[in-house]
Amino acid sequence: MKKKFIIATVAAFALTVPAIFVGTSANSAPSYKGRPKSILFVQPMKDHPVHRLMQAGLLAECKKQGFYCKVVGNASASNWDDVGTLPLVDAELATRKWGGVAVYPVSPVLFKYAEKLAKKGYPIIGWHAIPKQGTTSYVASVAQLVPNAGSGPADAICTIHKNVGTVAITEGSLNDEENTKAAAFKAQLAKSCPAMKTTEIGIEGFDPTKAVAIAVGILSADKDIVAAYSTTGNGAQTWSQASAQANRKITIIGMDYIRQNLDLIRDGKVYGVVAQPLYEETAMMVQLYAKLFKGEKIKYSNILPSTIVTKDNLAAYYKIVDAAGQ
């Protein structure tokens, strides 16, 4: 009996120790050196003009780095369908051995999915938002500091209107990114211009005709509105039309330097738009993948600056949209 006990104990020890070492090596940071030079870019609502600008940056840098890159997402310019995108990604993943999968880090559905892909060994890099390190499976992300897209416009409006009036705030839809921008705007405005008020956050939606009616309603309901801040790419167009329909001259700051928005600034219908580094984020993301696949170390958090495009600095952004084929 005693002999059997000793043999069993030794056997158990012999099996356990190697397992500990295997487990340990599995828990250490994986190496992505030598992976195929290909990136699958996962982005719902892939045909939205702002998303197309992001994809332009990706595809240009992929071409430069010699990567094979493909965009996958539900084919719509106005309907966000992250759940509907996942089966499309699964189908693409089955077509070839992908080096990396870039997943748009803006919804819990996508975070969950990225976790699943990371467990399969794909390096996941994000852009446009930086999830808190350790809370997701991303190895890196590239973005502006999202709150800056709110605080910068708040300071600009404060300077123009000298602490007088009310500012209307609208979002395209309620999501983490836009909520963060709107919250940062309100907080900064309260700090820089405490006498200025803000309206209840309005939701424009993505139907341009309805969005204008909503903006006119907001303007009409409050005579003290002197400015409008929109967190969505079409916001500049929405508010410029609304201010014309309501016959109210207001300072408008929107989001994203798509060509239509640049033209509105040029024509004086809009004060400015926040130049989120849409093109640069995805380009930098490809560069990070290139380093990863060479075995180099990369930083988790990669911040890019965002500025407000006004009449004074339009030319540079026209060059970018020209390069993007917009």
Binding site: A77, S78, E200, T209, A213, A221, Q245, N247, R259, Q260
Partner: protein, 351 residues
């Protein structure tokens, strides 16, 4: 002697004002519209201002034009889910014709209208001749059109457009309302006249009420329904072109989700999903009601989180009012017992 009287012995003319009022098919939506306007005005006196009213009309014109076509279809017993996608496809295609293809503006517009009519013809043929259920055919066409939008635009808006289109879109004759509103009024009046006052309209009601009976009495059901599909496609195209002019861009998002708004609006306005019932005026007022509710909730300062809930609830209430009106009227009609008239006997006949 003929003497038609109700059971109380009063004359048949006792129907009176109230009964005639209940016979108005748009009564439910009119009551809902007036009530909403009154309530929102009481919350914020700007609701009935020219700016808010103007923006409501501006937003409603595009969807209403499509609602006229959809009402024709619904009255005839079918419907079309592809109207929004067709509007979007025509907008971007027409824009491409005028820009990349270098066509004159008038040719681009006509080309767009022709595309809408052609899509309507395809839908009509597949439903009336090939026997594909309207739901499936038009749902499939919706997906096809949405895909075609992405193929044509590659995700980018068609922009800039020729100056003429911007001029049309920015025109303003009365309270910021321009060509869009004028075209909407003309389409609505003509549509309502045709459905109410012409044999075409009467035949559509018969077809929608009972297609078999319509065939028996010699109405060419297939031809009528086919023409309704073509009309719906053409009006969707017209709407898409007008939106494109207003936005000064052929945006890929034009028409997204409109099919539900159009159907919801027409049903709220008293047009039956089962055919044979409804009017164009009712359909337009239904669309107007939905937009009034949305704009009214904004001017009232209600949190956007509750706006969708409020819109849904008010829509159900509006339809309930219409159902209640019909039921009450039927009960009133049934409660009047009319004596069987006694006709004089012919010579040589017997009782």
């Amino acid at each position: 002697m003929n003497n038609l009287r109700n059971k109380k012995g009063a004359s048949k003319n006792s129907e009176g004002f109230f009964y005639r009022l209940l016979a108005v098919p748009e009564l439910g939506v009119i009551v809902a519209l007036i009530s909403c306007a009154g309530i929102f005005q009481s919350f914020n006196s700007v609701f009935l201002s020219s700016q808010v009213m103007g923006s409501i009309v501006q937003a409603v014109t595009f969807v209403s034009i499509i609602a006229v076509g959809q009402a024709f279809l619904l009255i005839s017993g079918v419907f079309d889910l592809s109207v929004g996608a067709v509007a979007g496809l025509v907008a971007v295609s027409s824009g491409k014709l005028m820009t990349s293809m270098g066509w004159p503006v008038w040719a681009g517009i006509l080309g767009g209208l022709a595309l809408g009519a052609a899509i309507g013809a395809v839908n009509g043929f597949m439903v009336t001749r090939a026997g594909v259920p309207a739901f499936i055919q038009t749902l499939g066409m919706m997906f096809v059109a949405q895909g075609m939008i992405q193929v044509v635009t590659k995700g980018y808006p068609v922009y800039p457009l020729p100056e003429v289109m911007t001029t049309i879109g920015e025109s303003s004759f009365f309270l910021t309302l321009g060509w869009n509103a004028l075209i909407w009024v003309v389409v609505s009046i003509v549509g309502d006249f045709v459905i109410r006052k012409t044999s075409i309209g009467r035949n559509l009601y018969v077809i929608g009420g009972n297609a078999e009976v319509a065939k028996i009495v010699g109405i060419n059901v297939q031809r009528y329904q086919m023409n309704c599909f073509i009309l719906a496609g053409t009006l969707s195209a017209l709407s898409g072109i007008l939106v494109m002019a207003t936005l000064s861009a052929g945006a890929p998002s034009i028409g997204g989700g409109w099919e539900l708004t159009v159907i919801a609006g027409t049903v709220v306005g008293g047009v039956s999903l089962f055919g044979g019932v409804g009017t164009i005026a009712g359909a337009i007022m239904g669309v107007l009601l939905i937009q009034c509710v949305q704009s009214g909730l904004v001017t009232s300062g209600l949190s956007p989180n509750f706006q969708l809930i409020a819109v849904g609830s008010i829509l159900v209430l509006a339809v309930f009012l219409d159902v209640f009106r019909r039921g009450y009227r039927n009960r009133m009609r049934n409660s009047e017992k009319v004596e069987t008239p006694v006709f004089p006997l012919e010579k040589g006949g017997s009782e």
